[in-house]
Symmetry: C2
Subunit: 308 residues, 2 copies
């Protein structure tokens, strides 16, 4: 395993972070966020979701966000698409990547996506066909949520997670990520499941998505990185939360995740000063929302400052 | 490596946590803390330090704390001793274990202990001789501080850390721990240094001591555990802090550390409800001090509750 290979951090705050907040962030602020993320060295951003605006008014400007991301050199914009209809919009507006959620927990799948996991796989195949028919290069990703447990169902069998990884690849996914949607994962489970999924998907297993609800976010990132994962989702300020755990922190804080890798000598391309400045802006925009993460407060250690 | 072997968590808040706080906690509250820790299943506690009371009035009641700990079935009380004089007091009052600090950073050693690391090793040899002459069974531990970097000196050469591990064993230490005193350690460095130190000390390398100043505390605990370490220092509520990083969190929160192990199926003997109740009491006693940690707020996951 190459411990010096770059790691890609994808900022998912504009989607996963904002979607559970009651407020609607003005598009102008989102665009500032997007451009500041680019200026801070980030090259992958999840900019929104093509869900009906009446269900999620926070993300109604997703097409505009994709267009803005396309103007930023080297930026890869991904969008969440819940179904074929959303996928057609992603293709139409030229998103680089579309992310289809697939719940490993049957209970969560029915509650959140109104379909079983196998019905979601059938939709994935239709999306793949539509994408190919349109001659689009939009990458199809599967985000396998509740892969480490579910607040509704409880435990999720690892065999079922692996069956769905194989199923997603068979149905046309070019990339699969495992997501700890509710902060249930532990580092040994992460090691086990990512290793097994990698044996099935190889390099197509491309992303780890962890929440820091119970303090294990970065330990889980480290465990997944040890198995060879080189791409992680994160949010500046650790926003996101979980509707089932009020007050708990959300996605791993991107700046802390970047620090984890910087501390190990792993390049992420991130400019810490610019990232911390963006975090400060975000605190203003989200006045009243709790931000998480420690590095903004504690600062880089002397050893790292000397090295950079 | 046996992934099911029990892990021992040592509560060090009564010493490492309290010593940097300006307030003096009344002995009656400390005794409640000690007894509640025992009731919550903890069997190792660092109860104080034999330093001159004029320098550290917070810890002036250390002999009383040792006596109280001796009354608790199965409780192992350790005390910090800065020198031979302190060691003689530890022996006299029947502490089970005494911990001598040794700074791997020469600059930190001179600033904090007023001696070079090699002068500290010479003092260790005198302490060993005095302990043996007294026919005492008090275990001599070395806590190798700033082993992962230093806020004064910056980087600390790994060769120097390993030289001091060997030196400590040669001078009579029966146990050696590596401490990230200032929150500089990263998980790869932890893996490297604990593996190398274990090659020298074997089972006498017995403890990891991590601060969570920059969010990597539990990732570092996990990395050290992967190398075979089965004993960790921690503080309920993550108190401790660092005088050089105001507002930053201190020692890893014991309850979060216990959750990390519980999530992996590793027994620690800890009763979460009792531990969270103790944390609540501590919050009252330290009214105004920031407590850290996430599990008290987020609660155990459904999967773990079902298992316990």
């Amino acid at each position: 395993m190459d411990n010096t290979a770059p790691v890609i951090l994808r900022e998912v705050g504009l989607r996963d972070g904002l979607q559970i907040l009651p407020r609607v962030m003005p598009t102008a602020q989102k665009l500032q966020w997007l451009r500041a993320a680019h200026a801070a060295g980030l090259r992958e951003v999840e900019v929104g979701s093509f869900v009906p605006p009446r269900l999620m008014p926070q993300l109604a400007d997703t097409a505009e966000m994709v267009a803005a991301a396309r103007d930023l050199p080297g930026m890869v914009a991904s969008v969440l698409v819940p179904n074929l209809k959303g996928a057609l919009r992603a293709i139409e507006c030229g998103a680089a990547s579309m992310l289809l959620p697939l719940s490993a927990s049957h209970a969560h799948s029915l509650a959140n996506l109104k379909r079983t996991p196998d019905e979601a796989l059938a939709e994935l195949a239709r999306i793949r066909d539509a994408r190919d028919a349109a001659g689009s290069a939009c990458r199809i990703e599967i985000g396998l949520s509740t892969a480490f447990g579910c607040t509704i169902q409880g435990a999720v069998p690892e065999d079922e997670v692996l069956r769905l990884v194989q199923g997603a690849l068979d149905a046309g996914a070019e990339a699969v990520g495992l997501a700890d949607t509710v902060g249930y994962a532990d580092p040994l489970q992460v090691t086990r499941l990512f290793t097994a999924a990698r044996a099935i998907a190889g390099e197509r297993l491309h992303c780890g998505h962890f929440h820091d609800t119970r303090g294990l976010g970065l330990a889980n990132v480290f465990a997944a990185w040890q198995t060879g994962i080189r791409r992680f989702d994160a949010c500046v300020g650790g926003i996101g939360g979980c509707p089932h755990a009020p007050g708990a922190s959300g996605n791993v804080a991107l700046e802390d995740c970047a620090y984890l890798f910087a501390s190990m000598g792993v390049p992420t391309g991130v400019d810490f000063d610019a990232l911390i400045a963006l975090r400060g802006q975000l605190a203003g925009w989200l006045d009243g929302e709790a931000l998480h993460g420690t590095i903004a407060r504690a600062g880089l250690p002397k050893t790292l400052k000397a090295a950079s």
